[in-house]
């Protein structure tokens, strides 16, 4: 089975993140950039399927030149190669445009299975798997906490608010994963060295046959009018417990009408 794993480079969610004042896009220059955390679980899942059933694992990233670092990091976990869609014109792409570009790249790669994270930590839009499935005429099985492959049948177990559900589809399909699905491996020294030699194909919009003015900021289907920082929450009252902490807590809750 040939698998493509979608990997997005995002600003580290453990640090301050901001939008730029000039064009309202994520300030990726200021941020520490990392692989979107959930995508590491998608890579791990792909590698486990490859270990069990063979086939190739290819990373697909759409992002600026700098995203190449994340691609190498992803490859050091074990995948065979990568495709990096990069083009100046892609900056500021909305989700709709992103899905159009990724779908075009996926059509060429023609995988049996597309694995991706359930959501990115920056946009958190949580729409990419379904957008891609819609464009490619495939099934989307989203939010997997467990994936089993039996021939060309995929079975996914996914959490719901009420419990969980089991969903099945035939390949080709898009499957998005939560961080409950596995424990991603750390790249070994050998893996890091090997990653340097793995093929990474750089693809432009022209290569995909997509007009530049239909994506990026120019072709965006939504626009940010303005943005501002939420005023920082100011710390309130903190008391040290000297035997009556619980009572004082309830007194506070009572003044706020919670009890």
């Amino acid at each position: 089975m040939n698998i493509v794993v979608l990997v997005k480079q995002v600003p580290d969610s453990g640090a301050e993140r901001t939008l730029r004042a000039d064009d309202n896009t994520v300030d990726r220059a200021a941020a520490d950039n990392v692989i979107n955390e959930m995508d590491e679980y998608a890579i791990e899942e792909a590698l486990q399927l490859q270990e069990a059933g063979g086939g190739e694992v290819t990373i697909l990233t759409m992002g600026p030149e700098r995203a190449a670092e994340s691609i190498r990091k992803a490859l050091s976990m074990g995948p065979d190669g990568a495709v990096h869609v990069t083009d100046e014109a892609l900056a500021g792409s909305c989700a709709l445009a992103t899905s159009r570009v990724l779908a075009a790249a996926l059509r060429e790669l023609n995988p049996d299975l597309v694995l991706c994270g359930a959501e990115s930590t920056d946009g958190r839009v949580q729409v990419m798997p379904h957008m891609l499935a819609e464009r490619l005429g495939m099934a989307a099985l989203t939010g997997a906490r467990k994936l089993t492959v039996d021939g060309d049948t995929l079975t996914v177990e996914r959490q719901t608010d009420e419990g969980y559900e089991v969903v099945t589809a035939a390949t080709p399909a898009v499957v998005s994963v939560w961080d409950t699905i596995n424990e991603p491996r750390y790249p070994s020294f050998k893996g890091i060295m090997a990653a340097k030699k793995k093929p990474v194909r750089t693809v432009s919009l022209a290569d995909l046959g997509i007009p530049a003015e239909e994506v990026g900021a120019a072709g965006a289907t939504s626009a940010v009018l303005e943005h501002r920082r939420r005023p920082a929450r100011s710390a309130g009252v903190t008391v040290a417990d000297s035997g009556d902490g619980g009572v004082r807590l309830v007194e506070y809750l009572a003044t706020e009408k919670f009890v």
């Binding site: 969610s13 453990g14 640090a15 901001t18 939008l19 989700a95 709709l96 899905s99 920056d122 958190r124 839009v125 949580q126 729409v127 379904h130 957008m131 499935a133 819609e134 464009r135 099934a139 099985l141 989203t142 939010g143 079975t155 719901t160 608010d161 419990g163 969980y164 559900e165 089991v166 969903v167 099945t168 589809a169 961080d179 409950t180 965006a220 289907t221 939504s222 940010v224 009018l225 303005e226 943005h227 501002r228 939420r230 929450r233 309130g236 009252v237 903190t238 008391v239 040290a240 417990d241 009556d244 902490g245 619980g246 009572v247 807590l249 309830v250 809750l253 009572a254 706020e256 919670f258």
Partner: protein, 318 residues
């Protein structure tokens, strides 16, 4: 006034609170029209509640295959409705299903979408929160109609009784709508507590709770306050509490009136899921814990002393 399509979410207990919020928002934009999509009979059970909250119309799309498959059939129904009704806007909840419907519908209609909005103005401009609630964005769909996913708990739903004329909608599905089949749905016991993302009070426990048994202390306080129970990732990863109750970056985003953090340090990824809560209260034995930076009221102390005492005090006052 043009109709505003509201995608209804419901479970065994009836219409979900997020849908009532959407109806409340929708009134500002036009005439609320609720769209119920489910198995035969789905709409009848929900009509009264939807009417109470202002649905002037209810579109009832009922078909076995809607319930048995992931969102694609619902998207087909909505795409037809949008073409027929030419609504002023389409509103969904910023829930997993709501976002997935919006994503597919956006592709189907070649229409922009906005997610994680907390408000929509009469002209369709939406207020979104980004980066763990630290940044507030005003945005607008520039291609097509406003297709907006609104966060649960972004408004208090208010009743505004309306006629709720029920209009059946023919459901025409294609093979492509039936690719992802739900073969089993398992409801796990969760008792009478409110839904985490909808609760007006959330009491969460962290690594400081120590083990799974001790979580009964967190549950007890939640029950006394009529709230839901949440957990930090460290508590979930340690097996103290199930994953569906995780609050934060990779868990649920909650925005209750009151958030109580017990034995939680307040890491940035945890704050991502709760810092837009109206009032935040924390108990932690470490006075330097970052959670106190955002707490309206904090107690530096041992949760095993403070929480049982607080529970006792609430019982006394009842």
């Amino acid at each position: 006034m043009a109709e505003v399509l509201v995608v209804v979410e419901a479970n065994a207990a009836g219409v979900k609170k997020v849908t009532l919020e959407l109806l409340t928002h929708a009134r500002e934009l036009g005439t609320p029209a609720a769209v119920v999509m489910g198995a035969p009979g789905a709409a009848a059970a929900l009509t009264d509640k939807l009417a109470e909250y202002g649905a002037a119309k209810i579109y009832a799309a009922e078909h076995e295959d809607i319930d048995n498959h992931l969102v694609a059939p619902k998207v087909s129904v909505l795409a037809h409705l949008v073409a027929r009704v030419q609504p002023a806007a389409v509103l969904v909840g910023a829930t997993q299903e709501g976002k997935e419907i919006a994503g597919r519908l956006a592709v189907r209609l070649d229409n922009g979408l906005l997610t994680d909005a907390v408000a929509v103005a009469a002209d369709g401009a939406a207020t979104q929160v980004a980066f763990a609630g630290a940044t507030i964005v005003t945005a607008r769909v520039t291609r097509g109609l406003p297709l907006v996913a609104l966060r649960p708990n972004s408004i208090s739903p208010t009743p505004a009784p309306a006629d709720a004329e029920v209009t059946p909608v023919a459901v025409e599905l294609t093979d492509a709508d039936r690719l992802a089949r739900v073969s089993e749905r398992v409801v796990e016991q969760k008792g009478s507590r409110p839904e985490l993302t909808e609760a007006s009070v959330v009491v969460s426990g962290g690594r400081g709770v120590g083990n799974a048994e001790n979580f009964t202390m967190v549950e007890e306080l939640a029950d006394l306050l009529g709230g839901a129970v949440g957990a930090s990732r460290a508590a979930v990863d340690s097996g103290f509490y199930p994953h569906q109750f995780q609050v934060g970056q990779t868990g649920k985003t909650v925005s209750p009136q009151l958030y109580v953090a017990l034995g939680i340090s307040g890491a940035i990824q945890h704050r991502a899921g709760m810092q837009t809560s109206k009032t935040i209260v924390a108990v932690n034995k470490d006075g330097e814990a970052p959670i106190f930076e955002l707490a309206d009221f904090g107690v530096v102390g041992d949760i095993f002393k403070v929480v049982p005492q607080a529970a006792e005090e609430i019982r006394k006052r009842k």
